[in-house]
């Protein structure tokens, strides 16, 4: 056993290697509901976006006026897919909201965040961080210790996605609603207008998609079957070191 393996396991002393689940049942269920909802939101979001794949800054924007970003996509107006798309979008936004609330409340009560996601002091050194980043850039396969705990980059990435990016997604989504902004005008004026909120909603979704791509790539690199099995059954297949 290498020194780093030993130390990482020490930082999670309550983890019983052979019997305790790697992921709690709440984490597993909310993970997959979120996965499914997110994909539904991306697809329905594209259906809505395709009616006008142009992004603006400020309060207003239209086809004959100046734009911020012209996406290289066609204007799809004749196929009424954005109507049903919006039904799907809102249904899964609600499901995602409830799932997220369950996850966050459970994460606080079960100390999931403080135990597994808050960066541990042991990892907080420039030397370690540099090595971690270089290992990632070299696509070095994950060690056995990574099957049982999260490294610093994972912890920071997950915390940012959970507490910054997803809330921003909801915020910018609600900021586009004329009904919601009649009650809370500052949620849209903060961004400089309804079109700014729309643009940020799109860009934030791109950040989430980028996270998804890296996340899945890392899972593949670390061993797709093992990691996915752990997120479904909760258990890490025993390796010779952990028996």
């Amino acid at each position: 056993m290498t020194e780093s393996t030993y130390s990482r396991v020490l930082t999670v002393p309550d983890l019983e290697l052979s019997t305790a689940p790697r992921h709690s049942v709440v984490v597993r269920i909310t993970h997959w509901v979120t996965t499914f909802s997110f994909l539904a939101l991306v697809l329905s979001g594209i259906a809505i976006l395709l009616a006008h794949p142009r992004l603006y800054w400020g309060e207003t924007g239209a086809r004959d006026g100046p734009s911020l970003i012209d996406l290289p996509l066609p204007f799809v107006l004749d196929v009424p897919m954005r109507g049903p798309g919006r039904y799907v979008h809102f249904l899964f936004a609600w499901i995602l909201l409830f799932t997220g609330l369950v996850y966050v409340v459970d994460g606080l009560l079960s100390h999931h965040f403080s135990r597994h996601l808050l960066p541990v002091r042991y990892d907080l050194s420039w030397k370690k961080l540099r090595r971690l980043m270089l290992d990632h850039l070299r696509l070095k396969p994950a060690g056995d210790e990574d099957a049982l705990s999260y490294n610093l980059l994972q912890r920071v990435a997950y915390l940012v996605v959970i507490f910054v990016v997803f809330p921003l997604m909801f915020w910018t989504g609600l900021a586009m609603s004329p009904a919601i902004t009649s009650v809370f005008p500052s949620i849209v004026t903060f961004w400089g207008g309804q079109q700014s909120a729309r643009t940020l909603h799109f860009l934030t979704a791109c950040v989430l998609l980028l996270f998804l791509v890296v996340h899945v790539a890392m899972v593949c690199l670390a061993g797709f079957t093992g990691r996915v099995r752990a997120m479904i059954t909760g258990h890490v297949a025993a390796t010779k070191e952990h028996i």
Binding site: H52, A62, P80, G83, A93, S182
Partner: protein, 253 residues
């Protein structure tokens, strides 16, 4: 032992599920009674619509005002969706400067009435500079002036059992709003736009403006306003023509 625990678990979870279903059913009935259910809430996809509409109706006061803007913010580029009706009837009305056009207001009202354009122009007028977003994604700011719908509704005397106000248009489109939206101070029967007469492409002779909802709700070319306690007998009963094309009825988003 373990078997009895399993059975107990099964019974408990069964009871919880039953209570949940009963609770949901009860909540549904209460929501319907107090007007928190959209007309198109049916089906699995409608559940999102029901939640959005119900949550916003609870969250929003009846009088929360859509944001208003400064005259300097009025858009220079104002796109238009769709063309005025090509029907002979509309063309005849247009040729005559809409002198023969009448707005009928009927249904659950004490005094069913018809109004001419001259009548409407005599009523107290209100102007507002509001943002209008198309459900496609583009948007503009314009000044709209006209008669508050609430003024006309008070004039004809809405009966207490009324739940919806339905708009019928000369292009056979139709839509509806609930009573809080109908009596909202910014809900206007629009006669003018940016200081001019309402252009035909923007809905002349009369369009409604519902600034707390997407532009799709602000129907053009109105000919009739119906006050009713149910929309089930109109079209497919989903509260508007748009849901029949896949759109949701509630456009507050």
């Amino acid at each position: 032992m373990s078997e009895s625990i399993t059975r107990r678990k099964l019974i408990t979870s069964g009871l919880v599920t039953a209570a949940g279903v009963a609770g949901l059913g009860g909540a549904w009935r209460i929501a319907d009674k107090y007007g928190f259910l959209a007309p198109d809430h049916q089906g699995i996809l409608g559940m999102g619509e029901a939640l959005t509409y119900g949550a916003q109706r609870i969250l929003m006061s009846r009088h929360s005002l859509a944001r208003e803007f400064d005259r300097s913010q009025i858009s220079k580029i104002i796109p238009v969706n769709g063309e005025p009706p090509k029907t002979e009837a509309y063309q005849r009305l247009l040729a005559n400067g809409f002198a023969d056009w009448r707005l009928m207001v009927d249904g659950l009202v004490d005094h069913p009435s018809t109004f001419s354009l001259v009548d409407l122009k005599r009523f107290p007028s209100r102007s507002q500079i509001t943002h209008q977003a198309c459900e496609e994604g583009w948007s503009f700011i314009a000044e709209w002036s006209g008669v508050p719908l609430s003024y006309v509704l008070h004039l004809v005397g809405v009966r207490p059992e009324a739940k919806w106000v339905v708009f019928f248009a000369l292009d056979d489109d139709w839509d509806s709003v609930d009573m809080p939206e109908a009596f909202h101070p910014q809900t206007l029967l629009v006669l003018g736009m940016n200081g001019q007469e309402l252009p035909t492409r923007h809905g002349a002779p009369l369009r409604v403006r519902v600034p707390r909802q997407l532009g799709q709700k602000s129907k053009k070319y109105l000919s009739r306003i119906l006050v009713t306690d149910t929309v089930k007998n109109i079209g497919k009963g989903w509260g508007a023509a748009d849901p029949e094309f896949g759109y949701s009825w509630y456009m507050g988003i």
